[in-house]
């Protein structure tokens, strides 16, 4: 069963800007799905339409088989949305932010209190329940929005750049939380500019650019298309020129750092053997960029 099915979705804003030019997209139940695209590609418009914040121009959206226009209540009940920017009442306590959202979904008070506690505990915010939300740190505000989005137990959770602007430690803990939520059966759609995040968490991916889906596949199959890996090598002794090794593209970044393009067909063993023959001692090795980042740039440029 598809969690989300979008057909020929188009959106033209009043100023004439065409944000979506006919998007077709299916996301399967239980998936952890990445929706990537550069700024202005149409991601936020697409999420806005799915979450009823933006009026579409034409096309259809259905969530777990419920058409968003014809079966609105059932469709909306299936979705939870974590937006890019903070959009809760900053004068309410964390508890009331989540509790009010439960009320909007028609959850009776007693049950809403239980769900609110569960969600705040899951997001490690229970001890902050009486704190006025504007006093929370940036990471806590993001987690509060996730707790709010989950209070009605949605089957589809849409996370629009949930880790933007949070430090690496919080980002990692949020990854664990998202994985846990997905394991419990919630389908997740994630948009992010951290491609490492998408590569680590998501099983399937779509890339949107200029209002159109330009790539849609399993993450593994997309990454397998990458023919060349880029590495950075720190070397023991300074060089005045980059060594020449057949089949590899090597550039001297500084006199002790080499940038190396390694074709998958050649591998690393031959590289190290050749460097060793030229008496170049390698101290350490790291990826120049995330693999998905290279593919993403190739696709959108």
């Amino acid at each position: 069963m598809t969690a989300l099915s979008i057909q020929n979705l188009k959106k033209t804003y009043n100023n004439g800007f065409v944000a979506l030019k006919g998007v077709d997209l299916d996301v399967q139940r239980g998936d952890f799905f990445a929706l990537l695209g550069p700024n202005g590609a149409g991601k936020s418009t697409l999420i806005g339409i799915i979450s009823s914040l933006v009026n579409k121009s034409s096309g259809s959206v259905s969530i777990f088989g419920h058409d968003l226009d014809k079966d609105t209540v059932a469709a909306k009940t299936c979705i939870g949305v974590v937006p890019q920017e903070v959009n809760f009442n900053q004068f309410e306590t964390s508890m009331n932010v989540v509790l009010n959202q439960a009320g909007y979904y028609g959850i009776p008070r007693k049950q809403a209190l239980q769900r609110t506690e569960q969600c705040l505990r899951q997001m490690e915010l229970w001890d902050k329940r009486d704190v006025v939300s504007r006093r929370l740190s940036g990471g806590m505000k993001r987690r509060l929005m996730i707790a709010r989005a989950m209070v009605h137990s949605p089957r589809l959770l849409i996370l629009d750049e949930p880790t933007a602007g949070v430090d690496i430690e919080i980002r990692r803990s949020m990854w664990e939380m998202m994985q846990e939520v997905n394991k419990q059966g919630t389908t997740i759609i994630l948009t992010t500019h951290y491609l490492e995040e998408a590569e680590s968490l998501c099983r399937n991916i779509a890339i949107i650019n200029n209002g159109q889906i330009i790539e849609k596949s399993a993450m593994n199959s997309l990454l397998s298309r990458l023919h060349t890996d880029h590495f950075v090598l720190d070397i023991a002794r300074p060089l005045s020129a980059a060594p020449i090794i057949e089949g590899y593209g090597i550039a001297l970044s500084t006199d002790t750092v080499l940038d190396v393009a390694v074709p998958k067909s050649h591998g690393l063993n031959r590289l190290f053997q050749a460097l060793s023959e030229q008496h170049i001692e390698v101290l350490s090795l790291r990826n120049k960029s995330n693999r998905l980042e290279q593919l993403f740039l190739d696709l959108v440029q």
Binding site: S52, L53, N87, N89, F91, G103, Y105
Partner: protein, 254 residues
């Protein structure tokens, strides 16, 4: 789905909002109206004598109460709903399966609650200066609630169209306040010279104030039936307009 839970969630949130900030919402009308009663009612009123057979103080009490109801039911909804838009937590409601009429009812009832509470506070203050008895409870109560409803709806529409905080103060300052003062709060229309009586009758607030005055002290410059018909007509029109705006997403959706 049980929409009453969503309705009461909005309503309770609204009531909590204006009671939390009571020094801004409940205290000022108490002080302002106490000054009105002291200056206009007591100091000046004693020299004016009777109006329509009642003391000047008793004559102005209904108008001052209703003027507070108008001002506060309007300003509660306009400021709360605009702030909901401004802070973008309107999105919490739009994402959820809350029908437009429930959103409207929640905010309007919040405005009515503040209008009624302020009206009761002002009525309580008036008791310190005079002991007016209410002659027609049913008419007074109906006008009280209907007026609060009408201006809460008007405040909602103002908030929908507002793009800045300036936009939410223009109507209260430049339309509502002058119309309230010219709506016969402090005088009877019969005191106005010829043509001004006709002009004054084009002011809808005149009808509500006089209907409320009739409910309290049995004195009115207008037909009570006409006042109810006008207020009811405006409520129906503004409700339909508000629902249309919400349906189209004007001012709240792209």
């Amino acid at each position: 789905m049980n929409y009453s839970v969503a309705f009461f969630t909005i309503l309770i949130k609204e009531i909590r909002r204006f009671t939390r900030i009571w020094p801004q919402t409940l205290l000022p009308p108490a002080i302002t109206t106490a000054l009105y009663f002291l200056i206009f009612g007591k100091l000046i009123g004693d020299r004016i004598g009777l109006v329509h057979g009642v003391s000047y103080m008793d004559y102005i009490v209904p108008g001052i109460i209703l003027m507070s109801v108008i001002s506060h039911s309007y300003s509660n909804v306009v400021s709360s709903f605009y702030s909901t838009k401004f802070q973008r937590h309107i999105e919490e409601l739009l994402v959820a399966p809350v029908p437009n009429y429930v959103i409207l009812a929640g905010y309007v009832c919040g405005g009515i609650a503040r209008g009624v509470l302020v009206g009761v506070v002002v009525a309580g203050i008036s008791m310190m200066f005079t002991h007016t008895t209410i002659l027609h409870w049913d008419i007074a109560a109906a006008v009280f609630v209907l007026t609060a409803t009408l201006f809460a709806l008007a405040g909602f529409i103002n908030a929908v169209f507002a793009d800045s905080f300036d936009d939410i103060s223009i109507i209260p300052n430049f339309v509502l306040t002058p119309l309230s003062y010219l709506g016969g709060v402090f005088y009877s229309v019969a005191m106005l010279p010829g043509i001004w009586q006709k002009i004054a009758q084009a002011n809808p607030i005149l009808y509500m104030i006089n209907a409320f005055r009739y409910g309290m002290i049995g004195v009115s410059d207008v037909e009570i039936e006409l006042a109810f018909a006008m207020t009811g007509g405006f409520i129906v029109f503004l409700t339909a307009l508000s629902l249309l705006l919400l349906h189209k997403g004007i001012g709240i959706k792209n």
